[in-house]
Every structure is written in structure tokens, then in C-alpha cells.
């Protein structure tokens, strides 16, 4: 069975594409057959984060319009052979994606026996974001511990429970997961950042993972290697845990405490 996962948030810049890339790679590392689709028509970026930007020939809109086959448009990952990327189109035509078109492509992933299709949603609540979530079985809501991100996420949760195929056909709820990113335990301890418990209490959904703020994330996007492949970074390890939880494994939360301060910084603050 093919499971369709949307990675969404409402607000931009919270880490949707970074998370989509790492989760897709993580699932492929577990031997799953995975496709990751960029729904951000006009602002293609997933290809850069995945490091395959120079191999994009055809894109999602080409497939929908029948200008190429799905096989031709899928970019096979160089690291994992069960991982494929479908790039967004750079067209400025807002109506390039249609509900029927997206449905047809997703059906084809099912006949090709993919285990997971990860849909990287654009920011906002416009058509692209709507179509990214419409066919989802699960939703990973990416949230920063910050007021506007939490509020927008709550809006998205409202849409997930009303504007999805599952909601419309009464096929049960889209399973919702919270992925808290850019988490800074030291600032949480100081009381200037909301904690995981705070965000969870407001949004009321179960936690898939907490990704600590990390220099590794920028380094990873600079080099086009999803951060989950950087085993030296806490963010990468936290994504590994999140993927394991997605597959039903139990993993304790890591990187939730601030690093211990040395004597000098204790004396002088910092």
C-alpha cells in the first residue's frame, strides 16, 4: 500500500523542504520505495536541497499535462536507488496543477508500488498547499516554537480536518504529526522560547520529533545533501529518530536539554 504524506505548515521558512528531503531520504534508508514531490509550482527548491538540480529535465506539471511519462520525470537519487524526486515546474501559471491531474499522478505511484509519496507543500493556504494536502493519509505539520508559526499551523490543522479527500469522503481523519524544528533548548531553559510541551498543549497533536536548531542544516542545504545524512549533526540524528517513529518504532526524545555550561560561561553568563 502506498502511503501519501504531506509535509505542511502554513507559514513559510519553517523547514518544510528541509524536512521533506530528510524524511524521504530517511524512509529510503529503511529500504522503502519513496518519491518526494515538490508542490511549490513557480518556486522550485526541493531539487536544490536534494542535490539533483542539474538533472531536472521534466517536472510535475509536464507529467500532469501529459508532456512526458512519470518515469521520465522522476529523478533517481544517486545515493539510494529506491528514492525518486519529482521537481516542481518553474511556470508562473497558477492553475498548472489540477486536482484531477494530481490524483492521476498519485494513482500511478500506487500502481508502481511505491511505499511512500512525500508531498512537500508550498507555504500559504492557496491552491498548491491545498492540493499537496488533499490526497494525504498523514500530515507532518512543521512548526517553529514561535507565535506566527504556531498560529498558522493551527489553521492548517483546521484545513486538514475539513478540506481533504479523507474528510470529504468520511474515510477517517488524516493522521497528524507535529514536527518541531529550529528548537533551541538553551533559549527554552531561559524562558525566551516556547517549549515542546507549550506548543503541544496549544496544538494538541502527537509529536513526531523535535529538530534542534543546528549549523548542520545550512551546511547541508549548501551542499545539496539532506541533513539526515550528516551523522555529525544533532539535526540529522533527530530526523533519523523522527523517521523511525514514523515507521512505528519507539525512540526517546534527544537533544532536549541545553548543553552544560563551562565554569567561565557560568561566571560571566553567555
Amino acid at each position: 500500500m502506498t502511503e501519501i504524506i504531506v509535509v505542511t505548515s502554513g507559514k513559510g521558512g519553517v523547514g518544510k523542504t528541509t524536512s521533506s528531503a530528510s524524511i524521504a531520504v530517511g524512509l529510503a534508508k529503511h529500504g522503502k520505495k519513496v518519491a518526494v514531490i515538490d508542490f511549490d509550482v513557480g518556486l522550485r527548491n526541493l531539487d536544490l536541497i536534494m542535490g539533483c538540480e542539474r538533472r531536472v529535465v521534466y517536472d510535475f506539471v509536464n507529467v500532469i499535462h501529459g508532456e512526458c511519462t512519470l518515469k521520465q520525470a522522476l529523478i533517481k537519487d544517486k545515493r539510494y536507488e529506491t528514492l525518486f524526486v519529482l521537481a516542481a515546474s518553474q511556470t508562473r501559471d497558477k492553475d498548472a496543477l489540477t486536482k484531477e491531474g494530481v490524483e492521476r499522478v498519485l494513482e500511478e505511484f500506487k500502481t508502481e508500488a511505491f511505499d511512500f509519496v512525500v508531498c512537500d507543500s508550498p507555504a500559504g493556504i492557496e491552491k498548491g498547499a491545498f492540493l499537496a494536502m488533499y490526497f494525504a493519509d498523514r500530515a507532518i505539520v512543521v512548526v517553529n516554537p514561535e507565535v506566527s508559526s504556531v498560529r498558522d499551523s493551527d489553521r492548517i490543522l483546521g484545513l486538514l480536518s475539513s478540506k481533504t479527500r479523507r474528510a470529504e469522503l468520511g474515510e477517517g481523519k488524516v493522521q497528524e504529526h507535529l514536527l518541531l524544528t529550529r528548537y533551541n533548548p538553551a533559549r527554552v531553559q531561559n524562558g525566551d522560547m516556547m517549549s515542546l510541551a507549550d506548543v503541544q498543549e496549544i496544538l494538541g497533536i502527537n509529536v513526531l520529533g523535535v529538530i534542534p536548531e543546528s549549523e548542520g542544516v545550512l551546511a547541508a542545504s549548501n551542499s545539496g545533501v539532506p541533513v539526515i545524512l550528516d551523522e555529525g549533526s544533532n539535526a540529522g540524528l533527530a530526523y533519523e529518530d523522527a523517521v523511525a517513529r514514523l515507521l512505528g518504532q519507539e525512540r526517546p526524545m534527544r537533544f532536549m536539554d541545553a548543553p552544560k555550561k563551562g565554569l567561565m560561561s557560568r561566571l560571566f553568563g553567555g
Partner: protein, 95 residues
């Protein structure tokens, strides 16, 4: 905490402020979710009509849609001011 911390202005705990603000706005927005789009306009017009007769506060009109089984109930509540605060209709004499 450093021994020289007292020299610095201690910022207040902004995370708890954030959480409190979110708790309120999110609850309010959840309440409005799924309600028809014309409700704010309906509320404004009703308020204008009421204001012709009584001097009510803009917050005195509450409109709610509640789901009861498979039908919806539109609930309208107007808090009228105490006696003596009514607007006297224009043609009437002062008293």
C-alpha cells in the same frame, strides 16, 4: 546564571507571554472555524440596526453557530445597557 548578571537588564519570560497569547487567539479562531463567511457582516449590520435604538457597545453583540445533530443553530445574543442609557429617538424631547 553568571555573577555579573545583575548588571544586565533581566528580560521577562517572553515564552509564557507567547503561550498565553496563542492560547487565546487559537481558541478564538477555532470557534470561528467552519462558520459561514457572512457572519461578520451579519454581525455588523445587526449592530448598526440596534445602535439606532440603543447605545450598545460593539462587543455587546455575540453571534454563534452551533451544530446540534445534523442541523445548525444560529445563536444571537445582545447585551443591552442598563436602564437610562438608551438613546432617545431624535424627535423626542430631552429629559
Amino acid at each position: 546564571m553568571g555573577i555579573f548578571d545583575f548588571l544586565r537588564a533581566r528580560p521577562k519570560n517572553t515564552a509564557s507571554v507567547a503561550k498565553e497569547r496563542l492560547r487565546i487567539i487559537v481558541a478564538q479562531e477555532r470557534g470561528a472555524r467552519g462558520a459561514p463567511d457572512y457572519l461578520p457582516l451579519l454581525r455588523r449590520e445587526i449592530l448598526e440596526v440596534i445602535k439606532k435604538y440603543v447605545n450598545v457597545d460593539p462587543d455587546a453583540v455575540l453571534i454563534n453557530v452551533e451544530r446540534d445533530g445534523d442541523h445548525e443553530v444560529l445563536e444571537l445574543s445582545v447585551a443591552l445597557p442598563e436602564k437610562g442609557h438608551e438613546i432617545t429617538p431624535p424627535p423626542a424631547s430631552n429629559s
